[in-house]
Amino acid sequence: MAQTWRKAWKTFWRYKALFLMLVPGMVYLFINNYLPMFGLTIAFKEINYAKGIWGSDWIGWKNFEFLFMTRDAWRITRNTILYNAVFIVLNTVMAIGVAILLNEVRKKFLARFYQSVLLLPYLISMVIVGYLVLAMLNLENGFMNKIILPAFGLDPISWYTKPEYWPYILTIVNLWKNIGYLCIIYLAAIVGIDQEYYEAATIDGATKWQQIRSITVPLLMPTIIILTLLAIGRIFYADFGLFYQVPLNSGPLQPTTDVIDTYVYRALITLGDIGMSSAAGFYQSMVGFVLVLVSNLIVRLKDKDQALF
């Protein structure tokens, strides 16, 4: 026994400098990631600031009963999943299409220019996106209400109070912001395809469309499946910036713009309702975790090398 300890100590001493290097990063991950994981137990407590986070009284499932008695729970779950499902399908299809086209541009400097421009929206913060959308949709002087709608003889629309338009607006904004990024990832996969397939197909007289359908898309399939499954693993997490900044946190829009992340934020910061927000956050973390594990399991069954773990 004493000997094993001495041996372990000797190994540790030999590697002491490397262990020392680990310290700052590990301390950070402990504070930033692991403490909040333990803090999830807050959902089962009634937080009393005098007693502190760890010392507050346990109240069992009460916070969850309150949360699931409201209609909000259903609404935010539905919105989060539906938006993400639409984003996954639409963004993937569009990104692959654009990537295939981008690969066809013969002039290299033009291809690089297009790629840079498409990537521009991905580079800027969601606050700026909020401004850009406001310039388009502002009630009194937005581009839509002043120029586009009058051109078709239509009346101005009060975009920021009409929830029925927002599923479309948010979908378009999301596509606009992310297509450049996804397109680059698929382009990298397309560039990696062996040119000999295309040469052989051309000799056999295959048209461009046939080549895309029978070579490019099938060879992209592994990438498509992996990226889609990983996105499904995150389907319970919404893009907070998109749903908070772009609708300008507008109350009347909540039926179609409220997602789990905005709900948790509002309950915590605006309303100060720790019970409700921690219950919703716990619900998201747990279901999210299960989905990540399940989707990874499926990836693993399909192709072991592509799995995260």
């Binding site: 590990m26 807050i42 033009l110 521009l120 606050v127 990832i185 051309t202 990226l227 910036g241 990540v292």
Partner: protein, 292 residues
Amino acid sequence: MRANEMNQTLVNIFFALASVACIFPFLLLFVASFSSEQSIITKGYSLVPSEFSLEAYKYLWNNFDAIGRSYGITVFITAVGTTAGLFISALLAYPLSRTDMPLKNTLSFIVFFTMLFNGGLVPTYLIYTEVFHIKNTLWALIIPGLLTNGFFILLIRTFFRTSIPKEIIESAYIDGASEFKIFFRIVMPLSLPILATIGLMLGIGYWNDWFNGLIYITDSKLFSLQNLLNRMLQNIQFLQQTNLDGRAQAANIPTNAVRMAMAVIGIVPILLLYPFFQRFFVKGLTIGAVKG
């Protein structure tokens, strides 16, 4: 082969249209910032300013104190956060990359698990505010969430493992170099490509971050540029209320144009630098997006 190519004209027309769709909102914003308030109110935002005016920028210049401060805060947190984050990530990644490191699998798993599961906003917020009392301090803009993450650490680890020959490290060790000397003198200089890429991603993350300011900062003196923009977007009266320059404001602030001018000065630095870092940015996005 040429005959079998897609029609280049059609392809180029498609991308010309797509490029316009990407740039158009920026142009609208840019033009609006140079329009007079009166023309925005009567004609709306448009690509052709009906009346050119610098009043929005004059207003911003008169409020240089508040805007300059928020710019300074953004530059400061970006510089400090990126440097510190890069060091912390590389220092943690290096031991994990060493095949002879004891417990390396357990330690790697501790890093990796943070990518699968997280506590979410509420516990994070309560721990940072109630345990570490970070609210309304500059720390709040640097530390929560942004400093490093499991993904970056594992990317750097993979680079160290695959691109730095083990023999160099071993021979340096045999020659009597300390582990820290090996790390700083050999490993870091050989890893500039990955460090530049991760550093850029960290830097963009800090420059664009508004979330930490939104939840941890209520004192407008500590607003970063993005927080100032955020506040002006959500609340058009913010300009009048905060009285940015401390003097009594004239009632007729060109609010619409000023908003757009603020957004413009928030975008311009990143647009000017974009051509220079674009290559690293694309690399940062594709690296590890799909493993292998």
